[in-house]
């Protein structure tokens, strides 16, 4: 935050910029206080990502969805780094990213990049399985009407 104090860009009101810093500091402290006694191990169970598992080949919509879930589970297990998995898992458990970053010994911006790279790997795995983005969205919503 110290660095931020030297970064006023001049493209907004100074008072708004000063308030934005105060807001971030206050929110960070609130979140830290809320999660300070929760260990990293205890953060995970609520958002625990399922372990890789296998299912039969798809023969209809339900089986296709099962195959999609299987592809994603496998990608989580095989394509993500342990840090990416931990970060996504903790995010799913509702842990504030600042606190995840704190526990992983990184910062909020680097955590965003870590998760971004993980999302990219998962997306790549989904598309590599032969589905288009649109088809996957249809599968999830159950709406195949536009296909």
């Amino acid at each position: 935050m110290q660095n931020r104090l030297q970064k006023y860009r001049g493209d907004g009101r100074f008072v708004t910029w000063a308030l934005s810093i105060a807001t971030r500091v206050a929110l960070s402290e609130m979140r830290r206080a809320q999660w300070k006694d929760v260990s990293l191990d205890a953060m995970s169970p609520a958002g625990h990502l399922p372990a890789p598992a296998s299912q039969d080949s798809p023969v209809n919509i339900v089986y296709e969805r099962m195959r999609l879930m299987d592809v994603v589970r496998t990608a989580i297990g095989e394509k993500l780094t342990a840090k990416q998995r931990d970060a996504i898992q903790a995010e799913l458990a509702g842990v504030p990213p600042e606190e995840i970053a704190n526990r992983l010994g990184t910062n909020r911006n680097a955590l965003y990049k870590l998760v971004y790279d993980g999302r990219a790997r998962l997306k790549e795995a989904i598309l590599a399985a032969g589905w288009s983005e649109e088809h996957v969205r249809s599968m999830l919503s159950g709406d195949y009407s536009h296909e």
């Binding site: 308030l19 929110l27 799913l92 911006n109 971004y116 999302r119 969205r137």
Partner: protein, 85 residues
């Protein structure tokens, strides 16, 4: 494991919503004050601030900040008016 596992669906949403160029938290913060000023003034959000909006829509860490910032701006404005009046 159900074929409708909600956590996996969230993970799939996270993956599919990926954009080629996403703004990070630090950049978002650098532009947040200017973004909040536009919101307060009701002026059109310029192109370079649209990425702020996109980041806020997908980052659980930053999404709360505009709400609190706008509240703080409102309180600061009222205090300023009271001091003058």
């Amino acid at each position: 494991m159900s074929e409708r596992d909600p956590k996996l669906q969230t993970v799939i949403d996270m993956a599919l919503s990926l954009l080629p160029h996403e703004m990070g938290c630090d950049n978002c913060f650098d532009y947040l004050a200017a973004y909040a000023d536009h919101m307060t003034n009701g002026t059109t959000i310029p192109e370079h601030l649209r990425m702020v909006r996109e980041h806020l829509a997908r980052c659980v860490s930053c999404e709360e900040e505009p709400t609190f910032l706008l509240e703080a701006m409102k309180a600061q404005g009222e205090e300023h008016n009271n001091a003058e009046g």
